[in-house]
Amino acid sequence: MAHVSTLIVILPLLGYLLVLINGSRLTERQIGYVATGVVGLSFVASVVTFVLLLHRHSRQVTVHLFNWIDVGTLHVPAALLIDPLSITMCLFVTGISALIHLYSIGYMHGEKDYKKFFLYLNLFVFSMLTLVLANNLVLTFVGWEGVGVCSYWLVSYYFDRDSASSAGKKAFIYNRVGDVGLLLAMFLLFSRTGTLTYVGVFARAGSLSPTVATLVVLALLLAATGKSAQIPLFNWLPDAMEGPTPVSALIHAATMVTAGVYLLVRMSPVLAISSSGRLTIAIIGGVTAFVAATIATSQKDIKKVLAFSTVSQIGYMVLAVGVGAYAAAIFLMVSHAFFKALLFLGSGSVIHALNGEQDLRKMGALQRFLPLTFPTFLIGWLTISGVPPFAGFWSKGDVLTNVFEHNKILWVLGVVTAILTAYYMSRLFVLTFRGTERFREVTHGHDPHESPWVMTLPLVVLAVLSVLGGLLDLPWIHHDSLAGFLSSTFGYVAPLHAQSTLSQYGLAAVDVAAALIGLAAAISIWRSRTEDERLTPAFLEHVWYWDDFYDATIGRPLEELAVFSDVVVEDEVIDGGVMGLAVGISRSAESVRKIQSGFVRHYALAMMLGTAVLVVFLVARVS
């Protein structure tokens, strides 16, 4: 088991190295297949590990690789923690990564930096798996930074476009702000518990005072808001759509952005101690879900809509974490990975067909031309809208049920968000596939064509998964499904008040109603129009003027400070000081250097003087 689980992590790295070293000798196709193959094998290894874990009595295995850091009392091993949570993450991360790698072979065909793309992608998978499988926070942090930097590279993939390179920088900087949170949490935990391994921290979590626990939770939340694009650090994600679409699907929808949620779930025993911390998490999640959903209703770019939708869905997950429904959060994470990857890849297929056009206003009536993309996208649309019996209905329902028990206000917010979700997705769907043809200008009059099989195969697989994903965790078999499997890894699950079956059905009915209201509204409104100023207010289109707010409150003052530092501090204070110091050192060094005259007798004299001083000093001590 140790070997197999090590393989999960090593294989993508191996692929990376293979392509790195042999890249110039391999053809484009070979590079693609090597990169896809290793991730596929990694998925197989995950499955094997999963099966082995199922048959074990103790479902928590630490695979020690080597001692990494031994400094004083800090002992950080490079070790993997295999438990239900990490293996669940592994399964869907490797699985979806393999599909998206396959898709990329077709999508990226003919790109200039084809090799670079797969290098980064493999490195990303390696980092993500490190993040997920690490048995301590430091190693998780390595993975955390690894996925961050891969995301940066991939967002700026078309770095000769200004917008892409600045989007990359934006993503990186927002993430850095979040990283501070993770570091702070690590420092706090280490100073209080003296260890950074998860098992060790959890064992001593009970000794943390509520204040410290709350601080840790807030720091972790900061980290999560950065990586998972939550308020207040959410606006990097839409810009990150500058990257190639497979990247958006893999990193900015399915895997990396859920890392924040994973971290919070992973640290659930610490979360358990701080109820105020959890409430903060829930509020952040709920508000993000709502705000992002409102913004998504007014975007004109197909990928931007999906990006805000991702933010909104992750908001749901964070909300679930906040109310202690960890299993529900993971359930939504997995099913979201299926349908959001599907939607992104579907949109990628559309964009591919339209020669790179992303504007919803220039699409329409594509149903006829994309015989495979259309039905799969349809499934994705229904799933995310929460129409039964697709996966989205079950997972979102699970979250909302849990929220209902804890906080009615947040539940109302969640339901409103659900309506909005159904609304903006339907708008997207209708504008893309129905209505009138508006794309002729982009395609120069030609008919759009369906994508090759490497691109459509992942679509089909993901569509099937979206349909059947609900089976993972049906409400009436919680204990024998995902939730039961995972429950051992959560130190604490918020107590469930036994709910009557009736109220459960009632809640489900509300969910269905919300989905249908949204669908109906969007279809009736957008069937006949493509633009409407009233329905897409500038306030929403400009993301609540969030960027402008940051620009005015943080960006400008910082820039002024930077100018001041550059002109005054740097030139006069620092340069002056350093130069002064340097000149001083050089002068005194010059005089020392004079002793180095080249004459042996001077050297001997210096030695003799030194000896004499030493002897006199010591003899003086005696008397």
Binding site: R593, Q596, S597, G598, F599, V600, R601, L605, M608
Partner: protein, 101 residues
Amino acid sequence: MNVPASWYLILAAVLFGIGAFGLLTRRSALIMFMCIELMLNAVNLTFVTFARTLSDIGGQATVFFVMVVAAAEVTVGLGIVVAVFRRRSSTSVDELSELKG
């Protein structure tokens, strides 16, 4: 007649000092060698004296090693002087100051 051990020690110290003094003041590499030899022999005298006051054979045995080391140093040193002299035709160390700074 019984000469106190301290006299020997003082003699050794004086010899050592003369050696060190010579090393600092003489210019000829050969004489500087001799000074080093003188210092080593002063050490030998010290060792022997202490060996006697402590009634310990170890100090005397050490003298053998020091002597051999001194001889080996002379040999190597002379070799180097010869190498230098072949180029410079002088054994004055003051002319060797190309390496400095």
